[in-house]
């Protein structure tokens, strides 16, 4: 497997020799990922990550914590045969029985997208950039970020995080519960926005959430109804549901923050009633809201998500956020909660 991994690095070197190339450093959780990009077909994948870039690579730094090589088949490199067969391919691109040699592998057969990581190097390659799975456009390199995060006891999570006055809340729940809506509503009100779909969680020294993507997605008709002034911010539509895609770093840069300490977990729930309410609930409800959706959408999280999130939730209070019939009411409740938390800490 090591040989297979190294052959892809050779393939990248060959592609770099005949294509436009570029490097971009990303700062995540105080660490650096250096993205090496060859060819223009996947350049747009850097857009959701642009807020993480401190600028040009620092030639005097100690070096990145991860080198990520990104390219596609347009360079015409001959791909070596895969050292596994189709019967070993499992759900979410996991491949059974190929963990020898310390190489992590994930493969998505319909697109051919191949992700690999070995130590401090990772590969992201697919035969045809036009066939990139739509979920990679707003949240690229997710599986690689997950593997990398596990190396320092952090974890990618399917959740939204917003904040105010230097503290944040983690919003999690089933699809359609209102995480993204509430995150966008908070950003719209000038609150801090860490992410609306995926964030990176760390436990120590205290529960922290780090930004991964500045992209935000919402159903087009709902966006038009609830946030019509956001329509000019839409960059395009993606996926079978044609969700509107926006990049907050481009349209609301002041709202985007790269990390926040988390004070509680909130589970948005659409409810009746005119005003939003918080109702304390149990840690198991927080775990049920956070872990399964991460497990089913993040390749490789099958065995790591439950124990990590159980420890991460730890002693954090968990609340149902009953949103009532007004997004603004829910948003105000979050803001008031954070202001009260800060006042209590003084």
């Amino acid at each position: 497997m090591q040989h297979f991994f190294e052959s892809f690095l050779s393939g990248f070197a060959r592609a770099r020799g005949c294509q436009e190339t570029g490097n971009l450093d990303l700062r995540i959780a105080g660490r650096t990922i250096r993205v090496h990009l060859s060819g223009g077909g996947l350049k747009h994948l850097l857009r959701p990550l642009a807020h993480l870039s401190p600028g040009s690579p620092d030639p005097h730094s100690a070096g990145p914590d991860l080198d990520l090589y990104v390219w596609d088949g347009s360079a015409g490199w001959e791909v070596p045969p895969f050292p596994w067969d189709a019967r070993q391919e499992w759900y979410l691109g996991e491949i059974e029985g190929v963990e020898a040699g310390g190489v992590q592998i994930n493969h998505h057969p319909p697109s051919g997208l191949l992700c690999m990581r070995c130590g401090k190097r990772a590969v992201y390659w697919l035969p045809d950039a036009e066939k990139l799975p739509f979920w990679e456009i707003a949240s690229p390199f997710r599986v690689i970020f997950h593997w990398w995060a596990r190396s320092f006891d952090a974890h990618v999570a399917h959740a939204a995080v917003v904040g105010k006055q230097g503290a944040g809340v983690l919003l999690t729940g089933r699809s359609g519960a209102g995480k993204s809506t509430m995150a966008i509503a908070c950003a719209d009100a000038g609150m801090d926005y860490v992410g609306d779909d995926y964030v990176l969680l760390e436990r120590s020294p205290r529960p922290m959430a780090h930004a991964l993507y500045n992209s935000a997605k919402m159903h087009a008709d709902f966006l038009a109804r609830a946030f019509p002034h956001w329509l000019p911010r839409v960059s395009g539509s993606i996926g079978p549901e044609k969700k509107s895609l926006m990049f907050l770093r481009e349209c609301m840069p002041a709202s985007v923050v790269n990390c926040l300490p988390i004070t509680c977990v909130m589970l948005p729930k659409i409810s009746g009633g005119r005003t939003a309410q918080l109702r304390e609930t149990t840690p198991i409800e927080g775990l049920l809201a956070l872990a399964p959706s991460t497990i089913f959408q993040l390749p490789g999280a099958r065995t790591s998500a439950l124990p990590f999130f159980r420890r991460w939730i730890g002693d954090l209070p968990v609340y149902d956020l009953l949103t009532g019939d007004s997004i603004a009411s829910g948003r105000s409740l979050i803001a008031e909660f954070l202001v009260r938390q800060r006042a209590n800490c003084r």
Partner: protein, 146 residues
């Protein structure tokens, strides 16, 4: 002969205790479960390698209930867990704390049950690659702004 021991149906199922409850996720079906109270106690004792007859005796003694009543509830519950492919017959007790050291709840006996959640099952449809015939999942209509 009925199996005497049961284990978690790995690798398809993952399980995590939280406080006195359990969360189970079935990776292949897309279903996930919460098991609380007596149900969590039964699962925990079984996963620690305790034979089902001993689980019955343990609960019967702790909750001061007739052995027959507990046996009926436990066996029906376990059968349901097996039907949902959460447990399977067999013995694969981990090497950590022995089952005897597990403390049971101080609240009254409630028949074991679990909650099943199926809202994520559709997510796995996206991964049914052999059934994917429509390329719309990969359609991007997006002006790439440099």
């Amino acid at each position: 002969m009925d199996p005497t021991q049961y284990q978690l149906n790995t690798p398809q199922v993952v399980c995590e205790p939280i406080e006195c409850d359990l969360v189970l996720v079935h990776f292949e079906s897309g279903l996930y479960y919460s098991v609380r109270g007596t149900g969590a106690e039964i699962c925990t004792l079984l996963m620690k390698g305790m034979p089902i007859s001993d689980v019955v005796s343990r609960l019967s003694t702790h909750y001061q209930k007739a052995n027959d009543e507990i046996a009926r509830d436990v066996r029906a519950f376990v059968a349901t867990l097996v039907e949902h492919r959460l447990l399977r017959p067999g013995a694969d007790a981990p090497a950590d704390a022995p089952a005897a050291s597990i403390t049971l709840s101080s609240t009254g006996y409630q028949p074991p049950r679990f909650e099943k959640f199926d809202d994520m099952a559709d997510q796995l449809l996206l991964d049914k690659i052999e059934e994917q015939t429509d390329d719309s999942a990969y359609v991007v209509s997006m002006p790439i702004v440099e």
